[in-house]
Point group: C2
Chain length 218, copies 2
Amino acid sequence: MIKKIHATQADPTAREKLLRAAVDAFDRKGYAAATVREIVEAAGVTKPVLYYYFENKEGLFQELMDEVVLKFSQVLEKNQEAGGSARGRIEGLCDNSFRLFKENVPVVRVLNSLYYGPPQGAPPVDTDKNHRLFQERLKELLVEGRDAGEFRFEKTEDAMWAIIGVLNVAMEVEFCHPEMALGPKDLKRVLGIVFAGMAAQPRGESPRGTHRRKGVQP
Amino acid sequence: MIKKIHATQADPTAREKLLRAAVDAFDRKGYAAATVREIVEAAGVTKPVLYYYFENKEGLFQELMDEVVLKFSQVLEKNQEAGGSARGRIEGLCDNSFRLFKENVPVVRVLNSLYYGPPQGAPPVDTDKNHRLFQERLKELLVEGRDAGEFRFEKTEDAMWAIIGVLNVAMEVEFCHPEMALGPKDLKRVLGIVFAGMAAQPRGESPRGTHRRKGVQP
């Protein structure tokens, strides 16, 4: 056993291979139906290698989720440090979240399956917490933009849902209609419709002009 | 047996009770785990009553799906007959679809569970077909509105995704954050941001004015 663990340590790619094989198995068969045996076989390693790195199937799943949650918090942190217009920062937040999604489509599909599907005995994932963190950051940026005269809207939540709606639909198309999948540029263009709809002044007027209109949208 | 079937025919609510009990069981436990036994017990009827109306669990499921699909095609048909501005007809289409959703939240949750979750052995439901019908109708209305000088956008698909995004997010909030659930009026207000963003002319200009601007959004 000790010998096997040492062999594992000499193969840093075994860990990565196991993570990829696990996502693939969870994605194809569901978390409950995926077995340790098929995961190690697909990864081309032995069971002790899996036990060494992840303890068990739950540990493998947990590691997959932790990695995505970590990357997502890095996206949020990076956004906190960004400067520029509120629109630019919201575009950056959506773009980075969408790129993270694109790099992790199978993991998100597994998450969706657990979120919407029947209980499968997987360790709990606080998906709602990530939704809330994103919503909070977005609302902050919307309020900043409104206060700076960049946006106008009746309710901050309305603007928040319009933006989240566009980001979500771009993700859903990837699952439901991959033949129509949107890229980052497409997402930016669709978001552009929402930004035009909450621009503080009609097109053509100077954002800081003395004739800037106040009040809410019609 | 024949006696039991006659007793059933004298109780038209038994069918409805079975449908409600089935949705509830599929929703709570998943299609695969829900049993005929618990469905008939929850409905307060005997198994032969279920067999009489629906043949089996598959038949019950099929009937539930057929009912929603039928109501959805009625929403689309009604929209084909509607008159008025393209915006008004798109608002009507979204409003009626959203109300249909609101009346059938548990059925849609079951559909989502099958769509995103692992295979559960349920009869196939062509969810994508309904998506496509909705998308096609929406695109027709968007093109009509653009040709009539009501809207402007770079790509019809962009406007389509912005609107579907808002409608979808209103549905998702119902599942993911019921404490923030949107009503039909909220949906209309959020859609208003998208419509403002694809208005053919900036706010304040006459829609048919000689100074109407042409071209695409910035």
